[in-house]
């Protein structure tokens, strides 16, 4: 099984009213989580550390109710985890989608059928993202790239 990796870059047209530039890629991560949840795909959001896990948890919980995303942090919630799990440690159960918010490509990435990653506007972070992009290539992932843009309304009926 080849992992499908998609890198979303944050650019001018990615801006969203009410969301700070530093938080933009997190916002898009939430949107992606909401999208895959509605496709009945289980999602793993991998973060650098506990604090960033809390940030994304806070953001998902405060997200627009029409794109509600049931989620849990590692160490809480149901035994097999909710539809979306947030962790700064390696996953403990099988999921289809990995949303990577760390500076490297985690070595368990190939267990997932989809990898979602972001290329923030900040130069340092952008450089790290480029490295991850290369790593994915080297690991023989099917890598693609597109600009993150203001979302199509998410179809909640599907």
């Amino acid at each position: 099984m080849q992992t499908q990796a998609m890198f979303y870059s944050i650019e001018e047209q990615s801006k969203i009213a009410g969301v700070s530039e530093q938080q933009l890629h997190l916002y898009y991560a939430c949107l992606q989580a909401a999208y895959f949840y509605r496709q009945n795909q289980r999602v793993f959001i991998y973060t650098q550390d506990q604090e960033s896990a809390h940030n994304i948890d806070e953001m998902l919980w405060a997200f627009d109710p029409t794109s509600f995303v049931p989620h849990n942090l590692i160490g809480e919630g149901p035994k097999q985890g909710a539809a979306v799990e947030i962790s700064w440690q390696a996953p403990t159960n099988r999921r289809a989608v990995l949303i990577n918010l760390t500076s490297d490509v985690p070595n368990f990435a190939n267990q997932f059928s989809h990898l979602i990653d972001f290329v923030p506007a900040d130069e340092t972070l952008k450089e790290q993202a480029r490295n991850r992009f290369r790593t994915c290539r080297q690991w023989n992932f099917n890598v693609a790239h597109q600009v993150a843009s203001a979302p199509q309304p998410i179809d909640t009926t599907s």
Binding site: H54, D57, E58, W61, A62, P65, T66, F68, P70, H71, N72, L73, G75, E76, G77, P78, A82, A83
Partner: protein, 647 residues
């Protein structure tokens, strides 16, 4: 401009009568829809978020319609307003109605009608004075106060007796019940306060009742009833979210050992005072008394609810239940011999007949479409037979009435729709209106689900609850409620908190509910710990209550027998009982809670729900879409910050 629009306008009646009145679109929208429903004799369901001003929005079109009919000689347009509690009745009658009547220059006759237990019974007062049971000093003192009030009262409403505590044991002796009322045989019938109040209500243009009274009338559960509602042209239910459950109760039947006990007590009293020659009377009553007490002892010591159908299958219960019948039947036979010797014994005879009928109802546990359940109190057992649905009956009634029906509350919609409410009452074809509250919930309030909570059955649960409560109690300076689903956890948390905080802890059970609330309001830093149901009907304004911590989502207990029966029924229809019953119920309960926390544009507060299912289960979405848009967070520290900035 219609009369309703004019009344709410800048130059209108309300602006003239009320200082600082400013027209609000949502309120006017509601008033217009109400006027339409009254005119077209339709039914209307309105959710009006807290602060919309729904009371005026239904009273004004109703009174204007009444006034218009009176002025054009079209006869009397009769209006019934039904509210959730006695307190709300009083507020409506003594505060809102006088204001609006004056503003509209309405001549409508208004009346307040309460339940039977609120009116002095002259016959029983005199009886009691003559027989004088063994009263303790306090009750005797209360009795003396009641008696001197009774000499001067015009309404006979015991609410006027302000110097006697509400729950005083003297009241049951000076008021009547359906069972012990002598009705047409009563020597005092011409002076009966209850009858007077009812007559006044029947003549009035607008009557304020409560839901219990309304459904007692509708289900013909009290003599002299069934006269009020058929005459009404407009029916308005405030706090309408409660009525499906109350209707079920009245369309059902109950049989309690208390009724048996009361009958025995009264028979014994007659035997000792007037019919001393009939020795069997005393024996039969004492025998039944003993059997019904033994029946209670079969059930668990602690009060509980359960499935009567299942209990009835067990031999020891069915045997004891049969004994009740034998002894009741014996008592009936003995009383029968004394019939027409005096009014009191005739009344006992009627009651025995009724009880025998009720007994048969509870013995026939195979009846379809019904839930059979029991509840126990420390001394008594009540058997209930409750219809699984009142939709057919109630819906039919509404349709046939030819009246306008308004159902309103701050909490009716689930996920923006009224289907849950309407289908329970069989009024799916009603018009509906959803009005948001004018409050800025995102600024005024927060909904917080703490992280890393141990599971409900984890032994560290109480510790975790008290740990997270501590900073919130400090930040809110004690303006804090903690509500629990179990007494056990409540006491554990109370014990832990006592070590951790200096605030006085008021724990349910320490004193009566009313007293507890008074203490909470009076003592600035006191924290209140209680069970979840405690919150219902509680009204604590402003900065006295800024933080409410709930230990679990308010799902009804799966052990509840009525819920079980309804779930079975829904399953048989191929639907999901959780989505159909439990979820909407919990959503409404939580919405009620939010409404109690934020009561005003200047109110602020944090609602902490220690149940992460709201975050990690798909149904969290239904809750969020149904609750007001509070700011959501999972961070206790942040919430504490918010609270500490309020003071």
């Amino acid at each position: 401009m219609s009369a309703v629009e004019h009344a709410f306008s800048h130059q209108g009646a309300l602006a003239k009568a009320i200082n600082g009145f400013s027209p609000r679109q949502a309120q006017l929208d509601m008033a217009m829809e109400v006027a339409k429903a009254i005119e077209q004799k339709n039914s209307l369901v309105v959710e009006a978020g807290t602060g919309t001003g729904k009371t005026f929005a239904y009273l004004i079109p109703a009174l204007l319609a009444n006034k218009a009919d009176a002025e054009s000689d079209q006869g009397q347009k009769k209006i019934i307003v039904s509210t959730g509690t006695k307190n709300l009745q009083e507020q409506l009658f003594h505060k809102d109605l006088p204001l609006i009547r004056k503003a509209l220059a309405s001549n409508a006759q208004v009346a307040l009608l309460k339940g039977r237990a609120n009116y002095l019974c002259i016959y029983r007062l005199e009886q009691y004075q003559n027989s004088r049971g063994q009263l303790d000093a306090q009750t005797l003192a209360d009795f003396v106060k009641v008696r001197s009030w009774a000499n001067g009262t015009r309404s006979g409403d015991i609410g006027e007796v302000v110097n006697v505590m509400e729950g005083s044991p003297v009241f049951p002796f000076v008021t009547s019940t359906v069972d012990n009322c002598l009705a047409k045989d009563c020597p005092n019938i011409d002076d009966c306060y209850l009858i007077k109040a009812r007559e006044k209500a029947i003549d009035a243009d607008l009557v304020v009742v409560n839901h219990h009274l309304f459904f007692a009338d509708m289900a013909l559960k009290d003599s002299g009833f069934g006269e009020l509602i058929p005459k009404a042209d407009v029916m308005i239910f405030d706090e309408a979210h409660q009525i499906a459950d109350i209707a079920s109760e009245y369309f059902g039947e109950a049989f309690s050992t208390r009724q048996l006990l009361d009958l025995c007590t009264d028979v014994l009293q007659v035997y000792r005072s007037e019919l001393t020659d009939v020795k069997q009377l005393g024996k039969a009553a004492e025998k039944l008394l003993k059997t019904s007490q033994e029946f209670r002892l079969l059930f668990n010591y602690d009060p509980e609810r359960g499935n009567w159908r299942e209990k009835h299958k067990q031999q020891r219960f069915s045997h004891a239940f049969t004994l009740l019948k034998t002894d009741l039947d014996f008592l009936y036979q003995v009383i029968k011999l004394c019939v027409s010797r005096n009014e009191a014994i005739d009344n006992c005879f009627d009651r025995a007949v009724n009880l025998l009928t009720q007994y048969e109802v509870m013995a026939d546990v195979d009846a379809m479409g019904m839930s059979f359940w029991y509840e126990t109190t420390p001394r008594h057992v009540v058997l209930h037979k409750t219809p699984l649905s009142v939709a057919d009956k109630f819906g039919h009634y509404v349709k046939e009435s030819g009246a306008g029906w308004i159902f309103t509350s701050a909490t009716l919609a689930v996920d923006g729709a009224f289907q849950h409410f309407s289908s329970h009452l069989g009024i799916e074809h009603s018009a509906s209106l959803l009005l948001d509250s004018p409050f800025d919930y995102a600024k005024q309030s927060q909904l917080v689900i703490p992280r890393y909570l141990p599971a409900a059955n984890d032994r560290n649960r109480a510790k975790a609850l008290s740990d997270l409560a501590k900073p919130l109690i400090e930040a809110s300076k004690g303006a804090c409620f903690m509500l629990f689903t179990s007494y056990r956890v409540m006491h554990q948390v109370a014990e832990l908190l006592a070590e951790e905080v200096d605030n006085r802890l008021l724990v349910q059970g320490q004193m009566g509910k009313r007293k507890l609330l008074e203490e909470f309001v009076e003592q600035a830093d006191a924290v209140l710990l209680a069970t979840a149901s405690f919150w219902e009907g509680v009204d604590v304004r402003g900065d006295k209550l800024t933080c409410v911590i709930i230990d679990k989502l308010p799902f009804a207990s799966p052990d509840d027998p009525l819920l079980q029966a309804r779930s079975e029924d829904v399953k048989r229809q191929g639907k999901d009982p959780f989505a159909q019953i439990q979820l909407p119920q919990a959503v409404i309960a939580l919405k009620q809670g939010v409404g109690r926390l934020i009561r005003d544009v200047s109110d602020n507060g944090v609602l902490v729900i220690c149940d992460d299912r709201l975050v990690n289960r798909p149904y969290g979405e239904v809750f969020l879409k149904s609750l007001p848009e509070m700011k959501r967070s999972r961070d206790i520290k942040q919430a504490a910050n918010f609270l500490s900035k309020l003071g």
